[in-house]
Symmetry: C2
Subunit: 151 residues, 2 copies
């Protein structure tokens, strides 16, 4: 069985239809500044795979620091992704909980063997992410984040 | 507008059908000990109100510390509660994100005025909780937790 040692939740990811509107609502509710959203990189950079296939999907992301946890708003585009699928099937709401890990490849192999398949993965500047289908056992999708060692 | 100052996420609440089974899955996945679940107190102690009415509802709770955030598993019983309603309408999954606050009464009044009505509230040993319907604006239910000052 795969093990995330000393698990620390670093992000909660929430799928939204309109990142401007929901960012504004969060900013107002908590009396904090509305963060600028950023767009995930294009496929050439992310090498994104969704259910094993390359996808052109991108998302708008906005982050709110709330203690040691980041709340992440995600507005998917129309291309196939776990974000789009969640919005189409569940509507807006909490999509995943994220953990920082080391050794992504090994971890994903162990999870696959444990019947927790990879849903989507991609690279970002400084690291990579993977969403794992842990819904059956853990009742929520997990995101694994691996940052490259700092030079 | 109500404001939670310096918002810090303290808990993520996940509704489950079988707390024994899901606790075991979490314990195995993270290589940690399975916590014992506890049952919420009876109505005489909690003075629980769900949609303004007293309810006999109780839940089994299990907690996992994951950094500064607790992951809380909640197995509702059959009586009316936000937990039961969520399970019946959404199935298992993330039900709420919790914040520690001070001044519960004032906060609930402000939220009500801001069209974010109270869903459910109750007392526990050492404090009280309230679930607020922030779904429309924030896309997730918030739980407010207020601890009594330590004597």
């Amino acid at each position: 069985m795969a093990k995330i040692e000393s698990p620390v939740i670093t992000q909660i990811g929430i799928i939204v239809r309109d990142i401007e509107q929901t960012s504004e609502a969060y900013a107002q509710f908590f009396g904090i500044e509305k963060p600028k959203w950023m767009r995930t990189d294009p496929l050439e950079q992310t090498e994104m795979r969704y259910k094993g296939q390359p996808s052109e999907a991108r998302a708008k992301l906005a982050f709110f620091d709330m203690g040691s946890v980041q709340l992440e708003l995600i507005e998917p585009d129309e291309h196939p992704s776990t974000w789009r699928e969640f919005l189409d099937t569940h509507g807006e709401g909490v999509h995943h909980i994220a953990f920082q890990i080391n050794g992504m490849k090994k971890m994903l192999n162990l999870l696959e063997e444990g019947n927790m398949p990879l849903i989507q993965k991609g690279e970002y500047t400084g690291g990579r992410y993977a969403y794992v289908d842990t819904l059956k056992d853990l009742k929520v999708i997990l995101e694994l984040l691996e940052n490259d060692p700092k030079l």
